[in-house]
Symmetry: C2
Subunit: 330 residues, 2 copies
């Protein structure tokens, strides 16, 4: 079988690629375990191929039909659609967000539909589909009420994937990811970028600005747990998804203050001292529109899991970052 | 000001046009009461102009950007977007439904956005955005879970209108219409077509087939009350819609058996005898996925109203249909 990852050069895409190459096989929409013969990594910029000859790198625009036809062919049994314009950028550049988050997602579904064999399609979605007056615990049947263009575009992609699946065009599943923390690398234009920055930068000896209040609550998942959930979500048989193709993934509900307390325990007060609070009303408005926690009964029943606690999320980042170690381990 | 009605040749479009011409004015997005100088009726087929020189008839494809640019110009202050491919047809002809219910709605929003003055845009939506396991009373914050392509497309158009309004591109409002009954004319391809047919055909001395069980519950609104709600929804100041631009309109929750009982009271047993039950699993599946009633606290607080009872809905149809009268009035 062939597997496509869009956004394959991105942080989650690269991590998912490594995990799939190590695993070597996936269950197709007929429930058969099949060897991954080719893993296509499509992105705007060239992805790393890890020196593995199963990897095929494609560079181009995911919203271009000709590019998608290159990326998807009759042997394509699974697609992980991770490519997206992040929340802050989709708010700042409306047309770009619509083009990538909505049009490209629809084009991808239509390209898969044209194959005729209903490939598995995994979309990642986000807390940003919720907003407005929310219950303390967001449930699977809480109304979508996005307060950002990003959330709107993700909610639309969810609806499309559900309808295409209901009609048998694809065997889709949407996994709503909590905010991923701790991401490696540099800050990005996501409104939630600080959720990694306030841990990552201090650990690397750098200053970090937190644009929300210490009381602000986030719903977090580590990169490693996210990759496990993406693969587990892919492997679920379609039969258990009849009610809805959209699954709220488990996460940890944590305040910024709790994150910094865990950072202090692991890395000392000098690490926390590198974080400066400078509230940004634009980011606060977006972040505060997201739910701080959701009911994940269904996801847990399906075998999907969150991290144990914030400390283990921070420790995972340190463990996975070359050259980094915690005070206490030095 | 100019006002556009898409689907202007349709039953609701024509009725809305007559009501707007009689009214002569509307409140624009700045809250100013303005005279309707021109009423554009756009549709695939030519609309009636009622011999009123304020009416301009446009015939063409609402999903064609050039046609929409003809229909909307800098003087356009309000758009009522009623054009749609109905539920049964959108299920049977997937691409057509996507093109009209989704692409044309988005194109209309983009065309309005390009005007730069955020015109008022009224979208009609439907019970079909709900589905799956539903609470007895659907609330404004009940999750959308469409089980038809029509419902999916309407839900997406709702999300787009909300985001375009939030961003200030348009001053939009979505009115979720109950099933309209009694519609005049002939059956159409809507899954709910029978909700008018089982009243209309017997009153006209014709046989009618009911494709659902007598226990099936519908959520009904008369054409007259629907037009009043469309205009009232248009006139609402944007300030009262901050929570959401989408409003569930009040309706009556009635079973098919209750409709026929009212018909019998008004038109005698011979009228009811013209209805034959022949369950159609395809239609039953769609109709039973719709909620039978919803919480309309918000709509009522905004001054929107339903019909008094089924009997008055049937009586309204008789009153508005030339040559028809009830047994009891003869």
């Amino acid at each position: 079988m062939k597997v496509l990852i869009t956004g394959g050069a991105g942080f989650l895409g690269q991590r998912l690629a490594r995990a799939l190459l190590a695993r070597g096989e996936l269950r197709d929409s007929q429930g058969r375990v099949r060897r991954i013969e080719q893993l296509v990594l499509a992105d705007l910029v060239p992805a790393a191929d890890f020196g593995d000859d199963r990897v095929r790198i494609l560079t181009g625009d995911i919203a271009d039909p000709a590019f998608l036809r290159q990326a998807i062919d009759t042997d394509t049994a699974s697609v992980f659609h991770l490519a997206a314009v992040v929340s802050g950028q989709a708010e700042a550049e409306f047309e770009l967000g619509m083009r990538i988050n909505l049009d490209a997602s629809r084009l991808l579904l239509d390209t898969c539909r044209a194959l005729g064999h209903a490939p598995k399609v995994v979309f990642t979605s986000s807390v940003a589909v919720y907003g407005g007056r929310l219950p303390d615990l967001v449930r699977d049947d809480t109304a979508l009420n996005p307060r950002s263009s990003y959330g709107t575009q993700k909610a639309i992609a969810e609806l499309l994937l559900n309808d295409y699946s209901r009609r048998g065009f694809v065997d889709g599943r949407v996994l709503r990811l909590p905010t991923i923390s701790v991401r490696p690398g540099k800050p990005n234009k996501a409104a939630s970028s600080f959720a990694s920055g306030i841990i990552r930068e201090p650990l690397n000896g750098q200053a970090s600005v937190c644009p929300v209040q210490p009381e602000a609550k986030l719903w977090l998942l580590s990169p490693g747990a996210a990759i496990e959930a993406l693969i587990a979500g892919h492997e679920l048989p379609a039969g258990v998804l009849e009610e809805s193709r959209t699954i709220n993934l488990p996460g940890l509900s944590v305040s910024v203050a709790e994150m910094l307390a865990a950072l202090e325990t692991l890395a000392g007060p000098e690490a926390v001292a590198r974080v400066r609070f400078a509230p940004d009303p634009g980011i606060e408005r977006i972040v505060n529109s997201w739910p701080a926690a959701w009911d994940v009964t269904r996801a847990k029943a399906l075998g999907l899991a969150a991290d144990a606690d914030v400390a283990s999320m921070i420790a995972a980042y340190v463990r996975e970052t070359p050259g980094l170690s915690l005070e206490r381990d030095r």
